[in-house]
Amino acid sequence: MLPLLAIALAIGSGARTLAGEEEAGRLELVLSYPVPRRRAVAAKAAAVAVEVAAFCATAYAALALASQVFGLGLPPGRLAGGLLSVFLLALLHGWLAVGTGAATPSRALAIGVPAAAAAAAYLVGGLHGLAGWLDPFRFVSSFWWAGQAPLSSGVEYAHLLVLVLATAAALTAALVLIGRRDLDTA
């Protein structure tokens, strides 16, 4: 549940901050100022990261407290690892939303593309063990790399590195794509 909430928050934030602003026509004035487009997009990506990080920090505090109160006995290190994996998973999709907004000025697409990617990854990550033919595809599932049950069984930090690389790739794509097109002014 927590990863899905975090992803929804990240996609909403990423779509609003770039495609949403462009659709509302507010990007035109900002980009007429002496700010490189890349820097404007980097600032928006950073804002998404801050929002997701704040969400994860709050979730960490709440879970740590609940563990104390109800005596769940979650080791703080494992909890931190689990939330790091949630953070990366959400940030990946938030930055995919920014990247989609950088490629095309549609808020609907900036929500739809990363949401579809998340849904597909979720299904593949959850079903690959049951449907054998899906098994080879687990490597394209962000959920698989994030770990199936990070809170109970811990995370593979080497696997999280794959998420870090994918997230960096999404940001790089956003920074490249924003420079290549017309601002939508219609």
Binding site: R26, E28, L29, S32, Y33, P34, T185
Partner: protein, 303 residues
């Protein structure tokens, strides 16, 4: 660099993704210290040109420079030197005017805050209410302040006075005069000759993405049209008018003769009319679209 004009374009062209040819082979040169009006009806390509200058959209062909800096490859340098007022200004509705200007000033880096205050006072800008509560005119004033607040050497203004009340239009004209007196240049788009004729030094006319004319305001005004309705006491012969340079007889109904005449021909029109006994003479300015039509007629005649 010092010799570079304020704005220069060479064969600047833009065809939008949908195939709309919005601008074709635009060659322009705006000198330093002049107000240059860019005049054309709706859909002529004015905003397209301006967005190309600011690197908001990319040309299909051709190049543009501001103060010698390439608008494509050096766009941060060009935008640093430009104050821009969008034709369709969109601000952050949740912010107050002051917060919006603060945020834009931070984006600029350095802004003369005393000058910003002076501008806000001169235009009676509403600073402490959320922008969503402001009228179009009050938003437009914020647009003016943000365009001028860093004292840019080049101003690019896309139909800046639409929505502004007449008193403030006068204040705005004064501001433009001061701006060019201080050595800066103004590129001002408009669809109304009346709006620019008292501020502009030169006027370029664009229609359907093509530059049709660049002229001084005086010359253009001389060519600008009047609708003249002459009422005689007796049915009169309109041929005396038809032979005058640039004059067309639009209609004759009994004692009433209707003409279209360039301002430059008004003296001859009045003298020709005065040879007969007059009941009335009314002269009204034609609108821009009619002036364009007349210009095209002249071009066709020459062709």
């Amino acid at each position: 660099m010092t010799a570079a004009p304020a704005i220069e374009t060479a064969a600047l062209s833009k065809t939008y993704a949908g195939g709309v040819r919005a601008l074709a082979d635009l060659d322009l040169r705006v000198e330093r210290g002049e107000v240059f009006a860019f005049l054309g009806p709706n859909g002529a390509g004015k905003s397209t040109t301006i967005r190309l200058l600011l690197d908001l959209i990319r040309p299909t062909a051709g190049r543009a420079w501001i103060l010698g800096y390439d608008c494509r490859t050096d766009s941060v340098e060009t935008r640093r030197r430009v104050g821009y007022m969008p034709g369709d200004l969109r601000l952050f509705d949740r912010l107050t005017g002051r917060e919006q200007l603060d945020s834009l000033a931070r984006l600029r880096g350095s802004v003369d805050s005393a000058w910003r205050r002076t501008l806000s006072e001169r235009f009676a800008v509403v600073l402490d209410r959320p922008i969503r509560e402001l009228s179009r005119g009050n938003r437009q004033k914020l647009g003016i302040v943000q365009a001028f607040m860093h004292r840019p050497p080049v101003l690019v203004l896309d139909e800046p006075t639409s929505g502004l009340d007449p008193l403030l239009q006068g204040e705005f004209r004064t501001l433009l005069h001061e701006t060019v007196a201080g050595g800066a240049s103004v590129f001002l788009s408009s669809h109304s000759l009346d709006e620019v004729q008292h501020v502009a030094d030169r006027v370029a006319i664009i229609r359907s993405g093509r530059l049709t004319d660049v002229d001084s305001v005086e010359r253009l005004r001389g060519r600008s049209l009047r609708h003249v309705t002459v009422t005689f006491s007796q049915p009169a012969d309109p041929h005396a008018f038809a032979s005058l340079e640039g004059v067309r007889v639009v209609g004759v109904e009994g004692v009433v003769v209707r003409l279209s005449a360039p301002v430059a021909a008004m003296d001859a029109v009045v003298k020709a009319a005065a040879r007969h006994r007059l009941v009335d003479l009314v002269s009204a300015p034609a609108d821009l679209e009619e002036i364009f039509l007349e210009l095209y007629r002249e071009e066709d005649d020459r062709a």
